[in-house]
Symmetry: C2
DNA sequence: GAAAATCCGGAACACGTTTTCCTGATTGAA
DNA sequence: TTCAATCAGGAAAACGTGTTCCGGATTTTC
């Protein structure tokens, strides 16, 4: 009942078939030790014939490593964690490392549970990620840890984050380069650090071209639509709106179109996040900032691999964003 | 260099501290064997004091199991695989099982690579999932496998899928119960089985109330908008549009509003998928079908646990969907 | 032809846990 | 008091691999 089908062959089976000892078989398959090439080849053929796949549990035990890293995410349903996850998984799988997924659902109890589980599995390292850019409390484990997206509050930990300041600045510079002179900023709640950071960068970069104060609201199309109504009343000579998210930008575009304003001829609009379903379905499609989260995930994984190998890179690493230009600023 | 910080305590350390042998310590911590309660307690305290966490690699080796299952997804970036993944992870973590993530990116080579890796890790089972409802070729491994969302072409394999027929039928019955009598169906490409299935169910359920043939196009808002133009020309007395996805439905609503038709007073609209960003941002919010994918993932995981325990459930399991009613059919 | 160097492969152990078997001690019954 | 039955815990093996050490065989050198 325990095993259906024939048991998987062990290295001793390979050794027996090749007529050598297990240690010789091990050396042959791992290209270590001193063996005649002919012996190596014989063992390889035996392994091939038996369909031998080494049991990594044995290897893990003897090597002291598990070739596994844990990914703790506070909400993987969020659209930020997922690309990070995939990027990390991509980078790790190249190094024959596996990634075990732990979704805490923002529950500290679950987080504790998962940490124990990961330590018990003797994972070689842990990636911690979240859905907000606010720093989070570090986790306490005797294993290398890298924080992605949400940095650790401890600056001596290794964290990889998005350069939100640079991203927001790039949209504003783009608008300025197009000759826009009255730029409004519509973004998310002031309680979100990312909204504050982007607003600050916008103010700093726009200078005199900034129209009024940044407008904080919710991350929704509805807020974008509402903000347009307010803006057109208070700032009639507006010629650009830089939005804190693609969702807001889409709402902005919809409302502008309903009111007969042309985007981008009358008013150029920029989004943020390059969330394809929003940015591409918007009318017109949005110029926006791609967070390059998959690359961030890859980078995080590689940093973790370094740390596992004994060369940690403590501190904060800010990853560059990429400006994606589309019709909402360029026209057709 | 290999280990920073003090090495993690082993069970021999616990045993030494408690003044017993390792086998006794093991029995004490696992509540097996015959030991005095006082001895058990002494061992437990020693473990506590040392912060002992058993090394699951050793346990895995000795038990013959790895307490790990693999999840192979052809694209986890798709929004279907993710809830399934989370549901599975949730169900597995309750049983102290870990889930290792493998994203093949639809590349057969990568899939082979991952399969070897999972077999090498001696995972206790594998979940295979995809982004389409088309059956897929089974994988060949000597380990229990369950297919989720994309069933296996081999009917003797275990597969868990969405009841697309029932889901589509439920929207049509809902429209009929509201007294709608001329129902059009706008859906995705005919090359997609899910579009064909939903169309067939719609035809069957709507009967005489069906207006024209199902209209196949792409899964986009643009197609939804375009379909409205066609429909209003060919079928002026239309009073309901059942869409094959929330994205299409959103396009439909947008276009109807632009043309001055009231949803749902003039024409009721239903979506499919309950993709919140579409269904809730639509004006009005969409009545739609929730695929309950997280529950599907949980169910898949539990079936896999059964199979691992020696009680497989071969065949196809269709999971029920849930109709979510909102303003696009009910009004305010 | 003897001594040294080199090459090849095997025996043994380590990794950390669980489990099986076994022994000595205690208890109960006759 | 003796024998059997139960209890408490230890010794050893098992899981599958990698690695260290060591001895025998072959080749090289003088």
């Amino acid at each position: 009942m325990a095993s259906r089908g024939p048991a998987l062959p062990r290295i001793t089976d390979v050794a027996a078939l090749a007529g050598v000892s297990t240690s010789t078989a091990s050396k042959a398959l791992n290209d270590t030790g001193q063996l005649r090439e002919e012996t190596r080849e014989r063992v390889r053929r035996a392994a091939e014939q038996l369909g031998f796949t080494p049991d990594s549990r044995g290897r893990a035990l003897s090597s002291g490593r598990s070739f596994t890293v844990g990914l703790i995410t506070t909400d993987s349903s969020g659209r930020f964690s997922i690309p990070i996850m995939l990027g990390a998984e991509d980078a790790l799988s190249a190094g024959e490392m596996a990634l075990v997924l732990c979704d805490t659902r923002d529950d500290p109890l679950r987080e504790q549970h998962y940490l124990r589980s990961l330590v018990s599995r003797r994972v070689d390292g842990i990636i911690v990620t979240g859905r907000r850019t606010e720093p989070r409390a570090p986790i306490d484990v005797p294993i290398p840890v890298i924080y992605a997206f949400s940095p650790s509050t401890d600056p001596t930990d290794s964290s990889v984050v998005v350069d939100d300041h640079g991203g927001a600045a790039s949209t504003v510079r783009h608008l300025l380069s197009l000759g826009r002179q009255r730029i409004a900023h519509v973004t998310g709640p002031e309680s979100h650090q990312t909204a504050r950071d982007r607003a600050a960068a916008t103010i700093e970069t726009a200078g005199d071209a900034l129209a009024g104060e940044p407008m904080h609201g919710e991350w929704s199309e509805r807020w974008g639509r509402h903000a347009v109504d307010v803006l057109l009343r208070t700032t009639p000579d507006l010629d650009a709106i830089s939005c804190g998210s693609d969702q807001i930008a889409r709402g902005v575009c919809d409302r502008l179109r309903e009111l007969g304003r042309s985007v981008p001829d009358d008013i150029a609009v920029t989004g943020y996040d390059n969330w394809s379903v929003m940015a591409l379905s918007s009318r017109p499609p949005l110029t926006t900032v791609d967070l390059e989260l998959e690359e961030l995930g890859r980078r995080t994984a590689n940093l973790l691999l370094d740390a596992i190998a004994g060369s940690p890179h403590p501190g904060l690493l800010e990853m560059p964003t990429r400006l994606v230009t589309r019709e909402s600023t360029l026209g057709t």
